[in-house]
């Protein structure tokens, strides 16, 4: 912001260190990491394999969307709110470390988590559910879902910056679970009662699931409308982040 800018290579090293620290953070908080990883996979195993064996390929796309949605919202929303309250960011501001490193580190954590969730679900779908996809589809699903964490990272970050640490987990849960359900991540939108169906296209996870379904071949046609919708949502949430960021800077001053 108002400081002397750091040379690029130093800056990159610093980002790398932030990312690495995030990994250490995950490693040292297994009580957080493991449930976040296991929960959506377990959910998928119950609903996607045991309960609806015929729909495994469909549910793979929607449940992995569900998984990365959670990883992004919690890493950012709850994590940022807590660390902000602990004064960690004020401390970082006092060091030469670039503040953007916080976001990059957190994003790395969320992406790593998302990757782990998607890979595990793919393995469960393939080896327990008999799903077979082309290699390009498996990798495409992984890539789309990692990239697709962007709007949810921004949403989580915005909420984390604006909410107090006591409130954040509750609010994130209230956002997370209904968002997942209403976007058709557990039950396809086509099975919704008629009055509920029109809501889904207004929710970002619906569009990420659409792109994921397109990759796995369930949803033919162009996914570009959904990609556009996701970009618009990202822009909207970025605005939320800017507001939260400014407020944080103003408050700690």
């Amino acid at each position: 912001m108002n400081r002397v800018s750091m040379p690029l290579n130093r800056r990159l090293v610093s980002y790398g260190q932030f990312m690495y620290c995030q990994w250490l953070n995950l490693l040292r908080l297994p009580a957080y990491s493991i449930p976040t990883l296991v929960f959506p996979v377990m959910f998928f195993a119950f609903f996607g394999i045991v309960m609806n064996p015929g729909a495994t390929a469909y549910l793979l796309a929607t449940f992995s969307t569900f998984g990365v949605l959670g990883a992004a919202l919690f890493a950012f929303g709850v994590g940022v709110a807590t660390e902000r309250a602990q004064g960690w960011y004020t401390l970082i501001r006092a060091t030469p470390a670039p503040l953007a490193g916080i976001v990059i580190g957190k994003w790395f954590g969320a992406a790593l988590f998302s990757a782990a969730i998607v890979v595990t679900m793919c393995a469960v779908a393939a080896f327990l559910g008999g799903v077979k996809l082309e290699a390009s589809q498996w990798w495409g699903l992984l890539a789309v879902l990692i990239a697709g964490t962007l709007p949810f990272c921004l949403l989580g970050l915005g909420l984390g910056l604006l909410l107090s640490p006591n409130v954040a987990p509750a609010v994130i849960n209230i956002v997370y679970l209904p968002l997942a359900f209403l976007s058709g991540l557990w039950v396809p939108v086509s099975q919704f009662p008629g009055w509920l169906k029109p809501l889904a296209p207004w929710l970002p996870p619906y569009h990420l699931a659409e792109v994921a379904l397109h990759i796995t071949g369930v949803r033919p046609g162009d996914p570009w409308a959904s990609v556009l919708a996701l970009s618009l949502f990202s822009a909207l949430f970025a605005l939320l982040v800017v507001i939260g960021w400014r407020r944080m800077l103003a408050m700690s001053r």
């Binding site: 790593l112 595990t120 086509s190």
Partner: protein, 601 residues
């Protein structure tokens, strides 16, 4: 901080390990296997000679001929020439070789493609299925690798309106709101991989119901949009008015013969002059008019033995109200005769897996019915080989000439002399490799639970409950008015639109819990008397391992004693009988009926 890197501490190693592990898992995820691998050994350039055969090449017959196959294609057709000496030879023993058959109207679900292949159908023209795997089906049909499945061409999604025919099957179908969206709609189908465009013109009028359907402008716009992109447009019709609308729009073909009225000579003339083909789907129409092809198929033990559970299930179903329409059948048949006599191009298609049809087997029945409708045996065989190949531009199919695909059928008799010889299929080759003729299904042994003693009076303990299509998302209603122990059950309700085939009525549960399985393996017949007004009534019997499995549906005759021979339904698992339902079915109306003297013995 600096000391972190040179040492590469444990956590950093862990990160590398986690990422590496993820990559390993991703790389080891399975891909859809091409059938190629296992057959690779047979593949090579080896020549196979089929000698001592009568060969129908798709057009004409050649006596005393030999067919040479290599690399998945016909290398040559030798007539009155000795076969080469040093090649692998199969003696056809004076039997007949036909090109692999083409079923010009199917809906390929589940095991369709392998089920059809056992009956000599090597190519299927699908007329509506979700386009989820079209990259794969296209690759497979272009390949000459050995395969255990018939090749598939498909219309993909069908063109219909919201709530129209085709939207009732439980998956989303992109519908059209008017002519202005036709271009985009067709473009989207072609992007999905549709091979041709199927347009539904179905008002329900021929079946006693009312459905929203496409208007003439939209049909016209769809036909134009398809044909301007070099793709065929075909139409589903069931009334002569719909057929006229399709012809007016310039479709390439009709995928059903209409059933509502006698043929108008003007329409016939236009079909001939404009070379519009008709896929009459006689076998499914016969089924919907109380004339199932089941008896004909089952009269050939070898055919019957080859039916999978899925095939038996669809073959043993009946259309609601099919018996009531039986009176109309002679007219339908005479329309078909008149079309053929006038020179309209007919293609064989079964519309499997609709009720009373089975993949593959029903195409054989279709050919038989075409002969009954006046086609010569040669013409009927052409209608299942060279004619669909020509009309759908399938260059190397439906023929047994040099360069054609080595898709062929061996029947022991002579179908040119007697079409029933089709019942005697001895072998099928797909891409030059002989196909296994038995299903790989394991027949489930009967339940080990103790069989319940018979006879059972279904009224003895009042285990009747009202039941409707609400369970399937429908909106029909039913209530039991009176349930007299040891006498009768009286039910009334209302059929409402909502589910594809609305039904409402009562269900008898053999167990204490709803739909729990009870061993009634000794039950040979079910008899019951149905007192009811006009309308269609069906018996549905639920059985088997899976309570959600589709029931057997059998038409009931009102105001008569119905006797159903349960042993005649092989897809019924009497050792796991779950429920017996008596239902009113059909279009929106109120109903009231009484079931009495229901007895299992």
């Amino acid at each position: 901080m600096k000391s972190l890197r040179p040492k590469l501490p444990l956590p950093a190693l862990g990160l590398v390990l986690v990422v590496a592990l993820m990559i390993v898992v991703m790389v080891s995820l399975p891909s859809p296997q091409e059938d190629a691998s296992e057959g690779a050994a047979i593949r090579s350039g080896d020549v196979l000679a089929l000698t001592n055969a009568r060969i129908f090449d798709g057009q004409t017959i050649h006596a005393d001929a030999t067919l040479l196959i290599s690399g998945g294609r016909i290398e040559s057709l030798l007539v009155d020439e000795p076969p080469p000496a040093d090649v692998e030879t199969i003696d056809i023993g004076g039997g007949t070789l036909l090109p692999g058959l083409i079923d010009a109207h199917v809906h390929a679900f589940g095991s369709a493609r392998s089920d059809a292949l056992r009956f000599g159908v090597t190519t299927m023209l699908d007329m509506f299925r979700p386009p989820f795997d079209f990259d794969q089906t296209r690759r497979q049909r272009e390949s000459l690798a050995p395969t255990t499945r018939a090749d598939l061409f498909s219309a993909g999604f069908l063109a219909t309106v919201e709530g129209g025919h085709g939207t009732q099957y439980g998956f989303e179908v992109p519908t059209l709101a008017g002519p202005e969206v036709a271009d985009d709609w067709v473009e989207a189908r072609l992007a999905e991989g549709s091979d041709y465009i199927k347009i539904v013109i179905e008002s329900g009028a021929a079946w006693g119901s009312r459905l929203p359907t496409l208007d003439a402008d939209t049909v016209q716009a769809l036909v134009d949009a398809a044909q301007s992109r070099g793709v065929m447009a075909v139409a589903h019709v069931s009334t002569q008015a719909a057929a006229a609308m399709a012809v007016e729009a310039g479709v390439d073909g009709l995928v059903h013969l209409f059933v509502d009225e006698a043929l108008d000579p003007d329409l016939t003339r236009r079909l001939v002059e404009e070379a519009i083909f008709v896929i009459p789907t006689t076998t499914v129409l016969a089924g919907s008019h109380g004339r199932s092809g089941r008896d004909w198929i089952e009269s050939y033990g070898a055919l019957a033995a080859r039916l999978s559970a899925q095939q038996r299930q669809s073959l043993e179903q009946s259309f609601p109200g099919s018996q009531l329409r039986a009176g109309r059948w002679p007219m339908v048949l005479s329309n078909l005769r008149a079309l053929h006599a006038a020179g309209v191009v007919l293609l064989a298609g079964s519309d499997a897996p609709n009720p009373a049809t089975a993949y593959g087997a029903s195409l054989l029945h279709e050919i038989k019915l075409l002969v009954e409708a006046g086609l010569s045996t040669t013409e009927a065989l052409q209608a299942a080989t060279s004619v669909p190949a020509e009309r759908f531009s399938l260059a190397d199919r439906g023929c047994l000439r040099d360069g054609c695909r080595a898709d062929l059928v061996w029947v022991t008799g002579d179908p040119i002399r007697d079409i029933d010889a089709l019942g005697g299929i001895e072998g099928v080759w797909k891409n030059g490799v002989r196909v296994a003729m038995t299903t790989e299904e394991v027949v489930r042994p009967a339940a080990a639970t103790e069989a319940v003693a018979l006879p059972i009076d279904l009224h003895s303990d009042g285990q009747w409950t009202a039941s409707t299509d609400e369970f399937m998302g429908g909106q029909s209603s039913a209530e039991i008015v009176e349930n007299l122990s040891e006498r009768s059950v009286d039910v009334r309700g209302r059929l409402n639109p909502g589910f594809a085939f609305p039904y409402a009525g009562v269900m008898w549960n053999p167990g204490e819990e709803l739909m729990s399985a009870v061993n009634l393996s000794g039950a040979e017949t079910l008899s019951l008397t149905l007192e009811a007004g006009s309308g269609d009534y069906q018996l549905m019997i639920f059985s088997g391992d899976d309570a959600a499995a589709a029931p057997i549906r059998i038409d009931l005759v009102a105001n008569e004693t119905n006797r159903i021979e349960l042993s005649g339904y092989s897809s019924l698992d009497r050792s796991r009988l779950r429920a017996i339902g008596v239902f009113a079915t059909g279009p929106e109306q109120a109903f009231e009926f009484t079931v009495r003297e229901a007895l299992l013995q």
